[in-house]
C-alpha cells in the first residue's frame, strides 16, 4: 500500500512544473479515486479480491480515458502536455481496491493530494519560471495567458526540485508538530 502511495507521487512530482498543468490533474486526482471508491462499494461484497482489482483497473482506465477525451475537446495542447501523466492516475484507483476506504475518507485523502499538487506547482512555477498560470489560455481561454512576475531559477523547472520542496514542507510540518517537551 505504501509503495502504491509513493508511486502515486510520480504525477505530482512530474506535472507540477506549472499551475495550468496541475489544476486539471488535481481535479482528476480528486475525482477518479472518489468515483472508483463509490463504484467499487457495491462490488466489494460480491467480488473476491483479485476480481476487485480488475474492476478497479477497468473503472480507473475508463474514467481516465473519458477525462482525456474531455481534455482533448477543451484544449488539445493541455491534453498533449498532460498525456504522459494521466495513466499514472490508475495507481490511486488501484489503491481503492486494496484499501477499503469510505467515500468521505477517500475524498479527504484525494483532497490532500490535490492541494499539495496545486501548492507545489504554484511554488515551482513562481520560483522556476517567474510566472503564474503561464499558458492559462489552455484552461481558461484566450483572456487569461498568465502573469509574469520576474525571472526564475532554472533549477525549479526540473522535477527534482519538487522532491526538495516536498521534503522542505515535510521538515517544517514535523518541526512544528513534534512535541518539544522532554
Amino acid at each position: 500500500m505504501l509503495k502504491l502511495a509513493l508511486l502515486s507521487l510520480s504525477p505530482l512530482l512530474a506535472a507540477s512544473q506549472s499551475l495550468t498543468q496541475a489544476l486539471p490533474l488535481a481535479a482528476l486526482a480528486l475525482l477518479v479515486p472518489v468515483l472508483c471508491t463509490a463504484a467499487l462499494g457495491p462490488l466489494r461484497t460480491r467480488l473476491p479480491f483479485n476480481a476487485l482489482i480488475l474492476a478497479a483497473l477497468a473503472l480507473g482506465a475508463a474514467s481516465i480515458s473519458a477525462a482525456s477525451l474531455i481534455l482533448q475537446a477543451h484544449s488539445f495542447e493541455l491534453n498533449q502536455a498532460l498525456m504522459p501523466y494521466l495513466p499514472l492516475l490508475l495507481l490511486p484507483a488501484l489503491s481503492c481496491a486494496i484499501e477499503p476506504l469510505t467515500c468521505a475518507q477517500q475524498w479527504r485523502t484525494s483532497l490532500c493530494f490535490a492541494l499539495v499538487l496545486v501548492l507545489t506547482s504554484s511554488l515551482r512555477e513562481m520560483l522556476g519560471q517567474g510566472s503564474l498560470l503561464s499558458n492559462g489560455q489552455w484552461l481558461f481561454g484566450p483572456s487569461l495567458s498568465g502573469w509574469r512576475l520576474g525571472s526564475g531559477w532554472a533549477f525549479f523547472g526540473h522535477p527534482a526540485s519538487a522532491f526538495i520542496l516536498l521534503a522542505s514542507a515535510l521538515i517544517l510540518f514535523r518541526y512544528f508538530r513534534q512535541d518539544r517537551h522532554p
Partner: protein, 198 residues
C-alpha cells in the same frame, strides 16, 4: 463464473459509455486539434495580427524554384479584417547535415516578420533549433527587407552585421540565404500571393 460475468458486464458498460463519450466529443476534438495545429504553425505571427483562418485556404506552390522545396508546398495568407497582414512562405535550404525547412512570415511591404524552423537534421546540441538560444538567434533576422544594406544581410564572418550561431556558420548561412530567397520570391509573386485573399 458469476465473478467473470460481473466483470464482463462492468467492462461492457464502461466500453459503451466511453464509445458514447467519444462519439459525442469527436467533432469538438477534431475542431480543437485543427485550432491547435493552426496555433502551432502560426505562432510566429504577432497575436491579434490576423483574424482569418489561413490554414483553411492554403496556396499551393510548385517544388523547386527560388524556394527550393523538394515537393510542392503550402503557403498561407493571413488577413486582418479582410486586409492581408502577412504571407507565410515555406522555404528550404541545404544545411550542414541535411535540408532545413523554414516558414517565413513576410509583411505585405516585403519585410520579414518572423521565421521558424519546421524541420532540420543539424548537429544536436550544436546547431539544432530545439535550444531556446538558437530559436532566439532567429529573431535577430527579423525586420529585414531586400532593400537593406548588404551588411545587414551578411554574417560577421563574411564581413556583415549578423552574429552567426557559434560553431554552426554553415547552418547560419543556410538560414540567412533561405530568408533572402523567400523575400525575392515574395517580391516576384507579391500580387498573385496577396490577391489570394478570401
Amino acid at each position: 463464473m458469476k465473478n467473470t460475468a460481473l466483470i464482463a458486464a462492468l467492462t461492457l458498460v464502461l466500453a459503451a459509455l466511453l464509445t458514447a463519450t467519444h462519439a459525442l466529443l469527436s467533432p469538438r476534438i477534431q475542431h480543437a486539434q485543427e485550432l491547435a495545429s493552426e496555433r502551432r504553425l502560426l505562432d510566429l505571427l504577432p497575436p491579434g495580427s490576423y483574424n482569418n483562418r489561413p490554414l483553411q485556404q492554403p496556396i499551393t506552390l510548385a517544388a523547386g524554384g527560388l524556394l527550393q522545396n523538394s515537393h510542392s508546398a503550402q503557403a498561407y495568407l493571413a488577413c486582418l479584417n479582410g486586409q492581408p497582414s502577412a504571407v507565410l512562405l515555406p522555404v528550404t535550404s541545404a544545411g550542414y547535415e541535411g535540408p532545413i525547412q523554414l516558414l517565413v512570415a513576410i509583411s505585405p511591404e516585403g519585410r520579414i516578420i518572423a521565421s521558424k524552423v519546421l524541420s532540420e537534421r543539424e548537429t544536436k546540441g550544436l546547431a539544432d533549433f530545439n535550444a531556446t538560444s538558437r530559436q532566439h538567434w532567429l529573431t535577430q533576422l527579423n525586420e529585414r527587407t531586400l532593400e537593406d544594406d548588404q551588411r545587414r544581410w551578411q554574417l560577421r564572418s563574411d564581413g556583415g552585421q549578423i552574429d552567426q550561431i557559434a560553431g554552426a556558420t554553415r547552418t547560419s548561412r543556410a538560414i540567412n540565404q533561405a530568408q533572402q530567397r523567400a523575400l525575392e520570391f515574395f517580391a516576384k509573386q507579391r500580387t498573385q500571393l496577396l490577391e489570394r485573399q478570401p
